[in-house]
């Protein structure tokens, strides 16, 4: 079973507040969550300094420019207070990540669930923003993007469960050409080049400007195309979690589904003995080059000195995926068909993709505004249009104006999204987490992706979710939770089962 998820760090703007205030403002916004939730998050179960290449770094790199926003005289808050972690009844995690409200979807096994959960995160964050705005009597806005146009970036990360059968070096070799070229359909589009680049350049990717390394464990500074963080959140002897940090946050449901569907197939492809017969000379330069290439030929240099187009690189992966996964399941079928169609249209006429890809939709909007208003492409207000595209408030968002006009293809219905706010994806361990929160929130002593600590009057007990990776075992566990008279009864059932 494929398992994947998305974590989105939202940009936040609070009327009258500056960057120095955003950590506390983000925390306050998350604390506006009004539904049932559990806490705290068990950070002791995580180790972001563990590297898949077989070593452990002493420290992670931090952005020195960002540190200037910290008040040197303020006393650090306890992590539990600072992060304001909320584990929700849909199995998701909602918290403050260093000045950004972050929503991490529960583990999803289908693309429809993934898109519904990602959009549910928008709705949950928006409800909190509205509540916070009412408290302050000021405007509070959230943006699903990855840059402030002034050199600060924040992530939209993806996670994919994969086997630990292959040496990581081979995985890295197989991933670099794929991630370098994925921006041609997964990019969210950005006006400008950072830091201090040309304002009038429209590029495909929000994030490309911020990568300086091919591979590393870092995420905050000197960011890599391939993140090597080794946190499986399940049995690490059998599994890896591929933590992808090079993607953009997508507003388009189609772009989200295509990005996750294709990457999931490529991850599955790399679990076999297949490797792409392509090696790039300089992936870090190439991803930036592709992002700003106004010719849309996207030719980049191979290690042998010859050039190859980004579409042709993607076709190498597509061809191998078709051979192995055609007819595998509905998501694989959809992904292979749409991947092929998208590459065809990117090659023939990218403007045909304005109803599916964020960068194409955003570029079309900007073009319309430039022509209507008689502006130059380096006009400062165009970045405000770019930002407004990513506003998650349907009343002010330009993306949602497009969607309301029927100009964007949908993957899920509004009913699917509303349902995902209170229901975890079926058949995943997120459903167990959500069910425990719904029924026993007050008795929960802590949560991580791999487990939930439950406290009875006499003992503390960890419900280990690590091995619930198939539908059948999840169904059994859910049945036990639903039928349990109380927590003592549940612990007895779980112990008997084990």
């Amino acid at each position: 079973m494929a398992l994947f998820g998305i974590e989105t760090e939202y940009g936040i703007a609070v009327e009258g507040k500056g960057a120095s205030d955003l950590v506390s403002e983000s925390r306050a916004l998350v604390n506006c969550y009004a539904g049932i939730f559990a806490k705290p998050w068990l950070y002791r179960n995580e180790d972001p300094r563990n590297d898949m290449r077989g070593f452990h770094v002493d420290r992670l790199n931090y952005d020195p420019d960002d540190a200037a926003f910290d008040d040197p005289h303020s006393k650090p808050l306890p992590t539990e207070v600072e992060r304001a972690d909320h584990v929700l009844i849909n199995g998701a995690r909602f918290y403050n990540d260093h000045g950004h409200p972050e929503y991490a979807t529960p583990e999803c096994a289908t693309l429809r669930d993934l898109v519904a959960q990602d959009k549910a995160g928008e709705r949950i964050a928006l409800a909190c923003a509205r509540q916070r705005a009412a408290e302050l009597g000021k405007q509070v806005s959230l943006f699903k993007n990855n840059t402030d146009f002034h050199g600060s970036s924040y992530g939209c990360h993806e996670s994919y469960l994969t086997t630990r059968t292959r040496p990581f070096g081979e995985l890295l070799f197989g991933l670099l050409p794929f991630f370098t070229t994925r921006v041609i359909y997964a990019g969210a589009g950005k006006l400008g080049v950072e830091p201090r680049g040309k304002r009038g350049t429209f590029q495909l990717s929000q994030r490309a400007d911020f990568f300086t390394e091919e591979a590393s464990v870092d995420t905050l500074h000197r960011r890599p195309i391939v993140n090597t963080r080794d946190e499986a959140h399940t049995d690490p002897r059998k599994w890896r979690r591929l933590h992808v940090i090079c993607g953009d946050a997508n507003m388009s449901e189609y772009a989200t589904a295509l990005k996750i569907g294709v990457t999931s197939l490529v991850v599955k492809l790399l679990e076999t003995d297949w490797s792409p017969a392509i090696r790039l000379k300089d992936p870090v330069s190439a991803i930036k080059q592709i992002s700003v290439d106004q010719s849309y030929k996207w030719n980049i240099e191979r290690v042998d000195g010859k050039t190859i187009g980004a579409v042709d690189i993607q076709r190498i992966y597509l061809e191998a995926a078709c051979e192995r996964f055609a007819g595998f399941d509905a998501d694989s079928e959809w992904t292979l068909r749409e991947w092929n169609k998208t590459l065809d249209q990117l090659e023939q006429d990218p403007s045909k993709l304005i109803d599916r890809l964020d960068w194409a939709a955003k570029k079309d909007l900007l073009t319309e505004f430039v022509e209507s208003e008689g502006l130059r492409w380096d006009d400062e207000q165009l970045q405000s249009i770019d930002l407004a595209y990513t506003d998650i408030n349907p009343e002010t968002s330009l993306f949602y104006a497009l969607e309301d006009a029927g100009a964007m293809q949908r993957i899920v219905s509004e009913d699917d999204i509303v349902s995902a706010i209170s229901r975890a994806p079926e058949g995943t361990r997120g459903a167990i987490r959500g069910a425990l929160v719904r029924k026993f929130a007050d008795a929960i002593g802590g949560v991580s992706w791999g487990g939930v600590v439950l406290r009875t009057e006499t003992e503390s007990w960890m419900a280990d979710l690590g091995e619930y990776l198939d539908c059948d075992s999840v169904k059994v566990a859910l049945g036990e939770i639903e039928s349990a008279k109380d927590l003592t009864d549940l612990t007895l059932k779980f112990r008997t089962a084990s």
Binding site: A13, R315, S384, D386
Partner: protein
Amino acid sequence: MPTIDNERATRPAPADPTRRDSDDSGPTKPDVQRPDRSDLLKRMKRVDPDQARRYRQRSGE
């Protein structure tokens, strides 16, 4: 089921006279049919033009 055209993998992208290699003049308008977007233009005109200039964020992951 999608099929792969092996010849296409090495074929150069078709030339598009509307595209320009220089980024000085920005992207060109695509020639496609779109829904009525008059309301959309009104909404774009309502966007605070200084919104992005004021927008500063903490560096995240």
